[in-house]
């Protein structure tokens, strides 16, 4: 065992791509059919939705005033939430992956809780923390900050549910890679800040992109926490999912059209970000 640490699995030093390797997949023949069933479970409802769309009126349905307001609000808030996820999520992932501290397992579990909480429950929790009568409500009031029924509340709700996606993606990647390169950088005289900017960050980039996409998609689709914590007012807090929820009551065609729009947006985002499979070597 040498202490000088080993590099990424599939060390860049040794292997070159062998274009002659046969494309055997080593997959047992009964696996793909099951995978196909799983894929159908996802695809069939999407296709079914597409068949219900009132195509003749699709254009006007998705460009109505309320729809445009909801879309603009959704994009603004999801972007803000994603930025917050990056700003907060990167340090969290790094600390969880690299720093040893007491009760670390507990901390990691807690950080991932929003993943399994029903979003409405998340919204309630936010309410009890930041609401007017919440734990911090009094403090915020004194500071003159009123989050209730504001766009800020929407961003908070979206960040709450999307943050674990960022942390999980980044932390897995960081742990898989190990701190070998940071160790090398230190022996070469790089201080921690320099190593973070010039080694950790660039090598983290693919995972960061993946985490950002997941967080954005999650924030865009967030409903339960938003409606419980932020409320629903056109242009202020009524994001697309809330608009769809409302349109269900009166104009199912509009609801379906907007739903399809949301699906298409999600597909575009995910497709753009995952053009190439996330490779293990850095870009």
């Amino acid at each position: 065992m040498t202490l000088a640490p080993t590099g990424l699995a599939g060390s860049p030093t040794a292997k070159r791509r062998d274009s002659n390797a046969t494309a055997t997949s080593y997959v047992p023949s009964w696996l793909p059919p099951i995978a196909a069933v799983g894929a159908l479970l996802i695809l069939v409802p999407l296709v079914a939705m597409a068949t219900r769309v009132d195509w003749a009126n699709f254009g006007s349905l998705v460009t109505s005033d309320s729809a445009v307001a909801a879309l603009a609000l959704s994009l603004r808030t999801s972007l803000a939430a994603t930025v917050l996820c990056v700003v907060l999520g990167v340090p969290m992932a790094i600390v969880l992956a690299r720093v040893n501290f007491p009760l670390k397992t507990l901390a990691r579990t807690l950080v991932l809780v929003p993943l399994v909480l029903p979003p409405v429950v998340g919204g309630l929790a936010l309410l009890y923390a930041f609401g007017r009568r919440g734990l911090l409500g009094g403090t915020l009031d004194v500071l003159g900050i009123d989050i209730a029924f504001s766009t800020t509340a929407v961003v908070l709700a979206q960040t709450f549910v999307a943050l674990p996606f960022m942390v999980l993606t980044l932390e897995s990647a960081l742990r898989a890679r190990g701190a070998g390169f940071e160790s090398v950088a230190a022996t070469l005289g790089a201080r921690r800040g320099y190593a973070f900017r010039h080694v950790t960050w660039p090598l983290m980039w693919p995972a960061l992109v993946a985490g950002t996409v997941l967080s954005f998609a999650r924030a865009l689709g967030e409903f339960g926490a938003t409606i419980t914590f932020a409320g629903s007012l056109e242009g202020v807090t009524r994001t697309i999912p809330l608009e769809i929820y409302l349109q269900r009551e009166v104009d199912p065609d509009a609801a379906v059209a907007l739903s399809l729009l949301l699906i298409v947006i999600a597909l575009v985002i995910v497709g753009l970000a995952y053009r190439r499979p996330v490779s293990r070597s850095a870009p």
Binding site: T2, L3, A4, T13, F181, S183, V184, A185, L188, R192
Partner: protein
């Protein structure tokens, strides 16, 4: 700058001191698990000992004790470390890899690259400057890694089995490069390969089960080992006994002749060493010339098979047997054999163990 260090890690069974004279290369020789990497890690600041201290030149490098602790981070030490995995930063070109220490130290991009270029030239890797680490072969990558480690201008360079991951050709080439690089450099080279030690090191320290069992100039240690382990690494037979006028006498009374390397008095503890080329082996049963001087009868403890010859270990001696001549007579483990020692190749000297 002279380096004096000692460190102890109970959990790993490590308890070692090293002294390194300035401008000299010390080979830390020992098998995997003997503590070589741990020791280097401690010097580099990557592994913290239970207790230990080191001085580099006039200043203290680190001090760890129950009372106090001064444990600078790796980036705060003038120590460089090169391992068997080049660990080139995959997102940077070879040139930018070598420029990394300069940039980290505050140089501008152009200055750092200029320096990097000269280091690449020094290791004969100028053509690789714009290559990505992923496209380099093992030997090429290690070459660039050497340039990068040197670019950090360390006071002491630590090398942890740098050739272990290279194929034969690359190892030969890189070893030659290292010979040039290490010429006037203060360095420690950890290796289990005796060729690395003999070609690259001025001094050797032999590490066995976490402690240094033998230390001294390379030639002396490899030619006249004190410890059986060192003898094994050096590929030499070693027998202990008591000094006689013509050689040594073994505990069972057998007398062996050899050339005296020093004038230690008869009766003192002595060692005899001899290379396999000067030892002949025969099955004890068929030994027609039993009773002839300079032989040891012993049980075969190991046999190493090569295409046309065998290497036999018995009684602390090593002998090579040409299969062409004695195929039907080839001994195996457990057989009793007689090892005939040619006195012209046997050297007798004082035993002076470290512990």
């Amino acid at each position: 700058m002279k380096l004096v260090a000692s460190a102890r890690i109970a959990a790993r069974g490590l308890d070692a001191n090293v002294t390194l004279e300035p401008g000299r290369t010390l080979a830390l020789l020992g098998p995997n698990g003997s503590g070589k990497s741990s020791l280097l890690g401690i010097l580099a600041g990557l592994l913290r000992p239970d207790t230990g201290s080191a001085r580099l030149g006039d200043s203290e490098l680190f001090e760890v004790s129950p009372a106090a602790g001064r444990w600078p981070r790796p980036d705060e030490r003038p120590i460089g470390l090169l391992g068997q995995d080049p660990m080139l930063f995959p997102h940077l070109s070879a040139l930018d890899n070598v420029a990394f220490p300069g940039r980290a130290g505050g140089l501008s991009r152009s200055d750092a690259r200029e320096t990097a270029m000269s280091w690449l030239r020094a290791v004969d890797a100028k053509a690789l400057a714009q290559s990505r680490p992923g496209s380099l072969s093992g030997g090429q990558a290690q070459r660039v890694a050497i340039a990068r480690a040197l670019a950090a201008e360390p006071s002491v360079l630590l090398l942890d089995e740098p050739l272990a991951a290279l194929d034969v050709d690359a190892a030969v080439t890189i070893r030659a490069l290292l010979a040039t690089v290490l010429r006037d450099r203060t360095a420690i080279l950890a290796t289990h390969n005796v060729v690395d030690a003999s070609m690259l090191a001025d001094d050797i320290a032999v590490l066995h089960d976490g402690t240094i069992v033998e230390t001294g100039p390379t030639r002396d240690v490899l030619a006249r080992p004190q410890h059986p382990f060192t003898a094994r690494i050096a590929g030499r037979g070693l027998i202990r006994g008591v000094r006689t006028k013509s050689g040594i006498r073994l505990p069972d009374g057998t007398a062996l002749s050899g050339m005296a390397a020093d004038d230690a008095p008869t009766g003192s503890d002595a060692l005899l060493t001899v290379r396999p080329g000067y030892v002949r082996v025969e099955h004890a049963a068929t030994a027609g010339r039993s009773g002839t001087a300079n032989s040891v009868t012993a049980t075969v403890t190991a046999v190493e098979t090569h295409a046309e010859w065998l290497r036999i270990w018995a009684g602390g001696l090593i002998a090579d047997l040409d299969l062409e001549l004695a195929r039907d007579q080839a001994p195996s483990r457990g057989d009793t054999v007689t090892m005939y020692v040619d006195p012209a190749g046997a050297v007798v000297y004082r035993e002076t163990p470290l512990r």
